[in-house]
Symmetry: C2
Subunit: 491 residues, 2 copies
Amino acid sequence: MSHKASNGVSCSSKILTVDNMNPNVRRVEYAVRGPIVHRALQIEKELKEGVKKPFSEVIKANIGDAHAMGQKPITFLRQVLALCTYPELLEDNKFPDDAKQRARRILQACGGQSVGAYSASQGIECIRQDVARYIEKRDGGIPSNADNIYLATGASDAITTILKLLVCGEGRTRTGVMISIPQYPLYSAALADLGAVQINYYLDEDNCWSLNVAELKRAVDAAREHCNPRVLCIINPGNPTGQVQSRQCIEDVIRFAKQERLFLMADEVYQDNVYADGCKFHSFKKVLFEMGPEFSDVVEMASFHSTSKCYMGECGFRGGYMEIINMDPEVKAQLTKLVSVRLCPPVPGQALLDLVVNPPLPDEPSYSQFMKERNAVLANLAEKAQLTEQMFNTIPGFICNPVQGAMYTFPRITLPQKAIDKAKELGQVPDMFYCMKLLEEEGICLVPGSGFGQREGTFHFRMTILPPTEKLKVMLKKISEFHQRFTQEFS
Amino acid sequence: MSHKASNGVSCSSKILTVDNMNPNVRRVEYAVRGPIVHRALQIEKELKEGVKKPFSEVIKANIGDAHAMGQKPITFLRQVLALCTYPELLEDNKFPDDAKQRARRILQACGGQSVGAYSASQGIECIRQDVARYIEKRDGGIPSNADNIYLATGASDAITTILKLLVCGEGRTRTGVMISIPQYPLYSAALADLGAVQINYYLDEDNCWSLNVAELKRAVDAAREHCNPRVLCIINPGNPTGQVQSRQCIEDVIRFAKQERLFLMADEVYQDNVYADGCKFHSFKKVLFEMGPEFSDVVEMASFHSTSKCYMGECGFRGGYMEIINMDPEVKAQLTKLVSVRLCPPVPGQALLDLVVNPPLPDEPSYSQFMKERNAVLANLAEKAQLTEQMFNTIPGFICNPVQGAMYTFPRITLPQKAIDKAKELGQVPDMFYCMKLLEEEGICLVPGSGFGQREGTFHFRMTILPPTEKLKVMLKKISEFHQRFTQEFS
């Protein structure tokens, strides 16, 4: 790849080029912040510079970023974080006592009583204990040990760390990792980066994106021909698909993982985001332990949670944790060593996590406001989940499963053959062509289904349900109009 | 590795064991948080439980963690961060106007005006612009472009990201990376993790740990026999060695990098930590551009900075940045894509970085207090640097170079042959044996020189100069007494 740069020097004289860089990095893709988002940012700049467009703002429904979409931070969380950051405020009467008490406890656990000190690499001990108590409460008393909790720089960090531990072998013995299709592209990106083999299993779109163990079996059997399947990744509630797994389904998955000797990774970052009637979040840990020691003594697992989703939406703090279960003690020592190289997760994110797992109690002064704010966020999300499904299902050519949980919808869209041909002509995948046109014409930024994976010949997009209700309604109407126009144009 | 676990089940039945885990991870070592620190934490617990020891507290001089050693946060930094975290405080009269103005500007650059929103993956644009202005000012007007600035989760994150880009090839074509010995073990850990080839070049202990280009040449020539040397890493001011490179030395290194076609990585996180008379920090960027277009148009480089060191010592926030120079635009696009997978660096750390590169101006209300606090920290460090060198050089068997910069001393210690033999008997490296004994007898936690690398047959330890002056004096005295006792015991 030799060509002239603007200064006339041949670029092939560079030490580092795309041809001699890390080939795994080249293979990494991450659609949630891919070319369409890049173009959305350009359009925003053009709008600022006064360029005329058929719209006055870009609505970014590409990423689960609640605060960017106008959701207000929960007062209690931010009060405690401000107190931890600037402890002089502990003398201020404006802050409630329970917020001060939480801040004092966190500061006492910090080196030099400052959130500016490094923490233990695994995370601050008293916060890990709070996480363990939270898990026990969530899971009806099943014990959780703080030694098995690792705090992290968001769940993404924890997920890639566990994947990294699990990768070994070459050729047919290379580690294979089973991921759902559609998937959250952190998984495919991390696997490309690590040079692991991606094993696709397909969710059943006709059955609310449910997971079918027969499909898992098909996928693992096929994969054993060319790699060593060792890991099964589950996202529940689903991203981008929004389904909530039944207890029975989780039991089947655990049984399958045991039988096929797969390390289970349960991505449960949307555990508080469940909206649909009759749906309930069941943690993999709880189901595993309810299945008895035959399973709970042997199935190796890691589960992941985050401060970025649920009612908090505090993405910028990069807080999260994982709980490891039945990990070989020697491997666990290796994990502890590995995370120590990066010193520690951001301490403000750790402090935030502590509040999430240890929120105000009914007899504390902040309780009623906290619950009011929290419930308002979740009720609003539930309303928007339903609104989106209903509206999409009125558009001819759209089929939209219920948004049972999480914060996305992943409707299936029919694209006319002429549009598919046109996209091919332009060297684009058809749903990218569709989403790019939607962005240019309506200022709406979605992510094409191809960025998450979908069955050959089907097309989708992922849209967050996060914009404020009125803006969401406008957006849904615009999408509807666009789709009908698009269908006509290419008929 | 098959053995019985407590429940009687053979551990060899685990899916993930040390024998089948990622072999690169197994090779990772990070002495700064290694076995000695593990033991220090145990001893702290024992003290709390009332176990009698010849000391009442463990002094942890193993890690550059200023706040943990009692350094107070800089008021202005924390005020702005508290305002960003809990914007209701913008109405509070207790906060100075310049702090409020900084906070408003940062919030306006955040999605939904919240530090809880994701930022652009490369970092918030106005902060990257402030970083570029800071670099220009530091470097006497040499231009810096915000497009070339990438914010990161501490400098460690940025360093491993650049190393990851550079790794390719197999066997004799595998990427080789030149690192100083002694080194900061992030480098050896990252290289092990990436499966890159570590190429050691030795700093000259007899000349204040200076870098000699003849030694670089020796190392690269030897390495070309078995790998493809592509990268040269420099730490200036030095960690663990505390030397500050002369302008001439930097020029020689740049000339060498150009000649040998090496990508330069300049770790400059201690750039404000320069204490010795006649020493001055010269950035690699500035020297590169002063050498003229013959160099500044072609030498590919990345330089790194952090919010964790200097006068701030805000390790817990995990803030940092890198500036890339002359990177191939296609590779830069790959870098941008790669960092997008982790979404963004922690936003509070980004905000903190903004204040570090854009501190109060002389006509602003916070200026005088800010300068007073900043200068007090740096003056105290300079005093402790000198004190440490002087004291160590009075101990028979110690040779200690001046601590010209950074925040560590790395004295050479003479160990009696009997102690070396005893260590071998125990299966320990001799300086680990020494440091472990010092920890057990005096409660002082240092890192053995072997964790950083040292010339065969020499022994050192790394000690931070961060404890408060009075505690540092006690510690130095205890080390002196211990060393004399140790020498006698093994004579």
